[in-house]
Symmetry: D2
């Protein structure tokens, strides 16, 4: 089927490519004409602007917006809404905050335009591996998009089937689900990312304890110099902690066991923060997901005011001076 794709960065471009490979027909646009040209060169229809893109699609139209969350997505959704007709579908495949989805769907509903939010996981591996998708929107719209979604999804591949799923939604086994009404897709994807933070931090802490086991602060007969790449690799096979993140860790450690290319300042995206806020709103004690986020905050600091305050108190009550402190 036909799909408009707006935003041809790494994610958007590869989504169009994966659809084209599956025989779907994409009309693409990006504010970068070279990005449009690149995909046009691969045989897709390039658009000159949003209006041109809409005009090249047959009703009911579906346009996938794959742009940074916030203003870029918001403005594009609004512009598309002005160009589209009742029965058309706007898909936000980015990392939008789910409350914005709820608001947009409520705004577009009187116009008869469907708003579908797709939380998309897969990153740079998606073109080959497929995209795991969590989708929010009306049943009507999501069903209409099914050919597109099925083509983007990873499919069953060689992943073992889960016993006992007879009678449950078969789309989950293909790698996509209709999670609920507008916003539900991004909400589930947001929690996915929150979990991702927690998983990553669990590995990071474990490997740090392994790494520091050669510390001279320990008794000499309790020190080990452990081989990080081999440990990551061995855990991929038959251990309880095997995972795709561990596969990636093993790749990174095989390349450089000191990870010296990485300065250690870790960015965080909105999803981790929103996950904590959702936990607070629901009164869920999300200790691990929150600690994982906070660790990233701290990684980007030199010394915090709070730490200076600790030293100041220690100086006041105990005369401790941290100046000559040996680490």
């Amino acid at each position: 089927m036909q799909l408009g794709v707006v935003g041809l960065g790494r994610m958007g471009g590869n989504i169009a490519r994966r659809l084209a490979r599956a025989g779907h027909s994409c009309v693409v646009w990006d504010r970068s004409t070279s990005a449009v040209g690149e995909l046009a060169g691969e045989g897709m229809a390039g658009a000159a602007d949003l209006a041109d893109l809409v005009s090249k699609l047959a009703a009911p139209r579906a346009v996938w917006v794959m742009l940074p969350a916030g203003a870029p997505t918001e403005e594009t959704v609004n512009a598309l809404a002005g160009l589209m007709s009742p029965g058309d579908i706007i898909i936000d495949g980015g990392n939008t905050f789910y409350k914005d989805d709820i608001r947009r769907a409520e705004t577009l509903e009187p116009q008869g335009i469907h708003y579908v939010d797709v939380g998309t996981s897969g990153g740079v591996w998606g073109l080959e591996r497929g995209y795991c998708m969590m989708i929010g929107g009306t049943k009507e719209a999501v069903d209409h998009l099914d050919p597109i979604l099925a083509a983007l999804a990873p499919g069953k591949g060689n992943i073992p089937l889960t016993p006992g799923r007879e009678g449950r939604d078969p789309r989950a086994e293909q790698g996509y689900i209709h999670a609920g009404p507008a916003g539900a897709g991004h909400f589930v994807k947001m929690i996915h990312n929150g979990i991702e933070y927690g998983l990553m931090q669990a590995y990071a802490e474990g490997f740090e304890i392994l790494k520091n086991k050669d510390s001279t602060a320990l008794p000499a007969n309790e020190r080990y110099t452990l081989n990080m790449p081999d440990i990551a690799e061995v855990w991929r096979r038959g251990s309880v902690v095997s995972s795709w993140l561990l596969d990636l860790t093993s790749i990174a450690l095989a390349k450089d066991e000191q990870l010296s290319a990485f300065p250690g300042e870790v960015a965080d995206s909105g999803e981790g923060r929103w996950t904590v806020m959702a936990a607070v709103e629901e009164a869920v004690s999300a200790e691990v997901l929150t600690a994982a986020l906070y660790t990233r905050f701290r990684s980007r600091q030199d010394h915090t005011f709070g730490e200076k305050m600790l030293s100041a108190m220690r100086f006041q009550f105990g005369g401790h001076t941290e100046f000559k402190m040996d680490k």
Copy 2:
């Protein structure tokens, strides 16, 4: 090759079985004669007692002890040491604290007996999937045991090879590593379990936020009733959080999406606690691994004294009575 196996519980029995399938010859003993009889019925040599077991092995002997950590293992290791000869090998495949390994190896070294500790992951799935093993001990002993270890390990299977591992220890790709001197095997396994706690808790928190998204404490248009089994299943395919633990979660949720068979009191084993203590000894900020352990502690409590104290303070300064509090 020949191996004595002491302790024929779920783990020990299956280890003997997996070795027998690979053509190795096991002499087995357990204080339960029926356990010995069961394996004897499968064609293995049963022993009447430890001395009998040792006598049925040709030097240099190797005996795998697969018993609960602490007194059962300690007493068996000591008894074996009294029965064995220089050049023999005692293997502790249980969940021993690594400092006990260090002590035992130092004690046995003057007798010429090798002590090898094997941290073994794989649980009830090991017989079929193979056991992921982290091994501590002398190079001489570990090399001698290689045929046994290779047979127990999962092997490469259909798990993709990690690029860039050329020149690194190929045993890691088979699912076992020689981690270092005595204790190193159990130390690495201990951290493996610490990470396992963190990963499990990350999933648990994420799913709890998903589950509680239908709470009536939230605004009506921000509530979703989400499908736990489908979410677990979809994340297995192409998402960043795919893992073996997620596979297991999907199985459990497919069977009962309320998980009502589980009361929610979660046990912890020594490894989780030891991991925290190792972090403290090394001054590693292991927020997530520790929070995961503490969550289990809390899950086994009704109300804590600390919580009563919070209420008592609130009553004192604000006149807040928690009695009629609505949850």
Copy 3:
């Protein structure tokens, strides 16, 4: 000077009383006529409704609203705004979210009405001890209210002066500060409460470790049965952890060392949650304040879905059944 007081609950009533004792003149109103009657019986002027209250005040009027945050305060502020004149002052002394203050001040500014937010600490002890106040608003309005604020504040009392404060705002030593523009008062009070959560939790955890030191899970010669009331009391004198919260703890423990009147389900108010959200917005790693909040969340649960999930995973990978688990 003259002040209108709306909302005559424990806080509002005592604020009026403390002002009256200091010679100020209060016009009071509450939707409960008996509450109005009670203060009228103490010599204050009761109003029949908001309009009556406003009409009994001379311009420039000042009305202190002391109502629950959210709708009750919002509606009252709006109603007062419709009754008041340029130059008048509306004071919100409740626990309003500071972003609501910012919005209200922006709304009232074109009308020439000043909006002042006062974060008020002191609880049931305020009538005698005075109220610690953190104030947001224009300099003009806050200065105008100074006689009122000075009367409500605790004053220097017998608390030792802080050396080195020469040249700094003397109001801080009296127990009130002008923190900044609208919202700044409630923001500082919000963080005050966040810290309060953290302090309380630190004591709670420490006392719980003391309390559980008689656990039979510990080696017999490492068990102590410790005296909670005496420990709380001794720390009040010369120790680093002495505080007002500890004073209150000592009172509670002296009365009942088991704290058996308290079920252990601990409520949380908005401030604790907003503090975590502020930390997330600022990318501050507020581990302790967040853990303190989460502990309260958990205290109000029986068993969580997350904990059931942990058990379910343990059952899947290890065959562990938590049913017969000994705590």
Copy 4:
């Protein structure tokens, strides 16, 4: 009464001074002859060595050891044990791990020598404020030492009495308690320090959120530039978070509101670590005390291996490069 004091650093010297002021007779020794000379110059009896010190005391002797925990204390206790007689008392006033106290008391018991452990809080303020003391040992020994302990303790001072303590141990109101058998004093002091970490961290986090409220990452109308010294000062008066630590914070901030003299690398002593280990042994969920310790660990690091690993994973799955990341 007569007391030997060994170790004349800041704590030991001031303990001797406070006792001398109260009319007690101290025999003092330190490996630094100048330290001995200084106190001798103040009228105390200096000893030439441990044997000389013991010989200058009348039986039953009591010697207060005030040395760094570990080897210095251990060696001195052992040396004194060799010089003393049945009925004598060795007091360890340092920061010894309580399990060492238990062991020492068990070792000395057959010799008839009493071992008393005194957890001492008060730091540099103790000479004037008195020392808050938590004491472990036999009733006989602790009762014998009462005149010494009463003189060192702060006494009731002007701290309000706790209502309802009638019939409880009056020593607690004087600032010292007999906590239990050997080790109990240091155990209670250890938890005191654990709580201290938690309290300090709660203030540190709260002030950091206040401090960062002027961040340009926030919307312009939600920024405040808050006055740290005034906020610390105002909370000392009538607020729920008033404490001695807050008094000290106010002093530090009054002197330099940027705390620029403090680099922000915060040391930790054994007690914080032992508190976490005690919590783990007792299965107490000590989230806040542990997070406070971990924050200090992290404060002394540049970038951790764990953080580099997070970046490495992000690079692998998303192509995120943290190199050009803007903080």
